[in-house]
Symmetry: C2
Subunit: 523 residues, 2 copies
């Protein structure tokens, strides 16, 4: 078969993803449209929230008059913008970006927006349009860009700068791609709704054929933005060490550990050296075997401090409740924001909220809302660690019997969410994470149980009151006979007693807006 002689060649990163776009979620005109909206909204949220700006994001989808499969997507934000000189590479070069640092962000791969540009380019041949300005800059830059796929470099179709008239900042992006809005609509709407749920401090607008969704912010309180952090010794590997060594050849091992890592002060670093048997050499004098040993020992030493969670930006119980209440309108919400933990040196926080009753429909299984770094995950639920955990929990331990009006929100935030794929749709089974998600759900479920128990008690009180009040006259009569006092006095006192109970109950109902009364009664 000599005709089958092999031809060897290399691909640029852009060509690789052009050929394999479906692994980044661009598999067909429906999914690609959803994914495009998603990537743009996530960039817009990162560009605002990370810098303490209350997000104002508008998404506009329009269809070409002559060809409804030709779709325009416009997304504008009030974020910090992109410096003009960085715009071409940020938007039109695969594996280029500002998010390759240790910090919780929605974007992580430096890929999403480029995939959208690639997809536009190959389906409609149109460039991406970008208009952006940073807060300090006196100008607004406009670009039209395409990607040179073979070279993975931006092609500048047009560029223009203008003086700012008002003190604005932010980015506006427009793409033209082949997309099926009819089929993507439900997912896009759901995506926006779920995003609103976890970011109650953002104003989100979606204008599209047949749709006009507005989620106004319900609070101006925002989680503290994450800070850029240092690596933790438990997350180290030989390559990382070698890379860090490059700029610190003159440092001694101990100083190096204290300077370059999270989790170690002077004392711990000294103790580590003693424990590991490594000598406190200059880094440039370490032999390859010593580097390998160092890498191994750094991971094994049991006394490092936990990674600090400053790199993370959890939503917090209060905001989680707020978001859920305004979107799902449940009777009751239990929220839990757990303490930071880590897996392989990566800090993470699990947050869980259980929403119960109200407008949540009763279902055979809990409704699951999955989030990672505040991104709603809509696809591949079956492959996600949270779905499995939610399904294995014995909910009857928490007085929940299905069908029940229960929604479970699981939010994982981390400098490194272990996504199963580039499409960022499912979280892998990392044991530390799995256990923590389970604990968080159980924590919240105990709160829910307390609530359900309370509701049951209220019912009990009402039931007893009804029964008891029937007997009040008779009891009063008996008591009057025994004590030889006025029957009416007893009757009045007994009714007053009942009334107090009723009031307490009424107040409780008022406070919690119980709507599951009827349902839980039958239990």
């Amino acid at each position: 078969m000599s005709e089958q002689r092999e031809v060897f060649k290399g691909l640029s990163a852009a060509e690789f993803f052009y050929r394999n776009r479906e692994i980044a979620g661009f598999s067909n005109p429906t999914r690609a449209l959803y994914q495009t909206v998603r990537e743009l909204v996530e960039n817009a949220l990162d560009a605002t929230e990370l810098y303490g700006i209350l997000p104002e994001i508008k998404v506009v989808v329009t269809q070409d008059k002559n060809d409804p499969m030709k779709v325009f997507v416009d997304v504008s934000d009030n974020g910090i913008g992109v410096p003009p000189e960085e715009i071409p590479s940020v938007f039109a070069r695969v594996f280029y970006g500002s998010k390759y640092v240790l910090r919780q962000t929605r974007g992580i791969f430096g890929l999403g927006i480029k995939m959208a540009v690639l997809y536009s380019q190959i389906t409609t041949g149109k460039p991406i349009y970008i208009k952006s300005s940073t807060p300090e800059s006196p100008i607004i830059a406009e670009y039209e860009l395409m990607i040179d796929i073979k070279r993975n470099m931006p092609i500048i179709i047009s560029e223009r700068v203008a003086r700012k008239r008002r003190k604005t900042h932010g980015t506006h992006v427009r793409l033209c791609l082949e997309g099926n809005w009819q089929q993507a609509r439900r997912r896009v709407e759901e995506y926006i709704k779920r995003t609103a749920m976890i970011t109650p401090y953002a104003t989100l607008i979606l204008e599209a054929p047949g749709t006009h969704l507005v989620f106004k912010r319900t609070t101006k309180v925002m989680p503290s933005p994450p800070r850029i952090g240092k690596p933790h010794p438990y997350g180290v590997d030989i390559e990382m060490l070698k890379h860090l060594f490059r700029n610190h050849g003159e440092l001694y091992l101990k100083e190096f550990i204290v300077t370059c890592f999270d989790g170690a002060g002077e004392t711990t670093a000294a103790d580590f050296l003693k424990w590991s048997g490594l000598r406190n050499k200059k880094l440039k004098n370490l032999a390859p075997e010593e580097i390998a040993t160092l890498s191994k020992k750094l991971k094994e030493y049991p006394y490092w401090r936990r990674p600090r969670p400053v790199t993370l930006s959890p939503v917090g119980e209060k905001l989680l409740k707020k978001g859920l209440k305004s979107v799902l309108r449940p009777e009751y919400v239990a929220a839990v924001s757990r303490k930071p933990l880590s897996y392989r040196g990566n800090p993470f926080i699990v947050e869980v909220a259980l929403a119960w009753g109200g407008e949540i429909p009763a279902q055979e299984k809990p409704l699951l809302y999955r989030y990672a770094n505040k991104i709603p995950l809509l696809y591949d639920e079956g492959a996600d660690v949270s779905r499995r955990i939610v399904d294995t929990i014995d909910w009857s331990n928490y007085k929940v019997k299905f069908p029940a009006p229960l929604a479970v929100v699981v939010h994982v935030c981390s400098t490194k969410v272990p996504f199963k794929g580039i499409g960022k749709e499912a979280i892998a089974d990392v044991p530390e994470l799995e256990k923590e998600i389970e604990n968080a759900i159980k924590d919240a479920a105990r709160k829910l149980r307390a609530h359900i128990t309370m509701v049951e008690r209220v019912h009990e009180v009402i039931r007893r009151k009804v029964t008891f009040s029937k007997y009040v006259p008779e009891i009063a009569r008996s008591l009057a006979e025994i004590t030889n006092m006025e029957e009416e006095i007893f009757e009045e006192k007994l009714f007053n007693m009942l009334e107090r109970e009723v009031k307490k109950t009424a107040q409780f109902i008022e406070e919690t807006k119980i709507t599951t009364v009827v349902k839980s009664r039958s239990r």
Copy 2:
């Protein structure tokens, strides 16, 4: 928050995958070990089968004496080898390889082996060792390589060539990585077993701590190797056209279509031009809008021939049965190899086999064996299109009532399997594919139903025989009385009649080795 000033930077492809290794399946020491074995075995199979060589593949896993988490993986094959000058890039440069052509292969991303090298390098600091020779070459080349992650280029640690003494060819690869053999063992064994099932013409050996598996080939018949094909008009996009134009600027549109695409002869190409209203210009004279129109029209024209399946190498019904029988040892196998179809211009073939009874344990759901381009898929079954289809089929229509001893094998082969991720573990929901998998399963299920019906009939015959033989003497007596003939004659004839039925039944049982007699009786 000016301290949070963004730092923009680019990553090499190697650095990207170094940072995100879990998306390629290298998420922990268990999974990484499994993935390493997998990638090496798949390369070995491609290096043999694609060239008509009966595969002989040996996998050896050993643990370091002092550190059982330090694992050596050796894989050797009798394949066509890699030319010495290509070895560094093929093994130590991400996005480099010989598989970026239109042809069904196991490897497609040019990534797997590099991920294994990266993982070895960052966990043990050791290079990959390669020894390879091509059939024509008089020499054997040996290399030790690492990857320069920042530059995505190979680092040659050592190289050596030697004269061949015997006329051998093939490749031997050795890696040293952090791996958990104890935990990976079951998966690796399963992987080898499932590979043996779909490649009965291969000899596969796995030697590892506590394991010695040998699957000797049970046949020397191999599927025809796939040939390299041309793109189909339905799979075209603007970028692809521009790329093809580069070498064919002087061609006229019609010639171009006939020369560069699968699916079009002279007549069809002429008809396309008429249908599309495009003028038969020289390619270099086409305006950008005309290219966009051409791309659109090529995809819309309804009369292209189907993609030719020469690029594919299905297993075929006969080999599928053979493989299944020798590994699962069922009572009965129904196999279906469907005709080629295509999605978005990519040819594909679906093959399904149902194995029933014998040593297959009865289970509540069908056991599912998923394959893509002859690769067994072990992870993420929940996210796979086949699982969903198998679960939605109403098996009672095919006389299968659970618990039942049923295994379903689904094999999808295509020049472009729509994998959900780089780890190649689940196939996405492409409508054309979905429908075809369902049809293939139903085809096979009808065969299975015929078998089960037959088994039921056999039982019916046996049951009737038993019942009938009780009455033979009585009937004989009655007939004797009526006809005034000898009772014994009738008795003998009647028993003979029964005997013939019994013989037929026995023969059927013999032929089909029915073991589900008891189970199906209760139905």
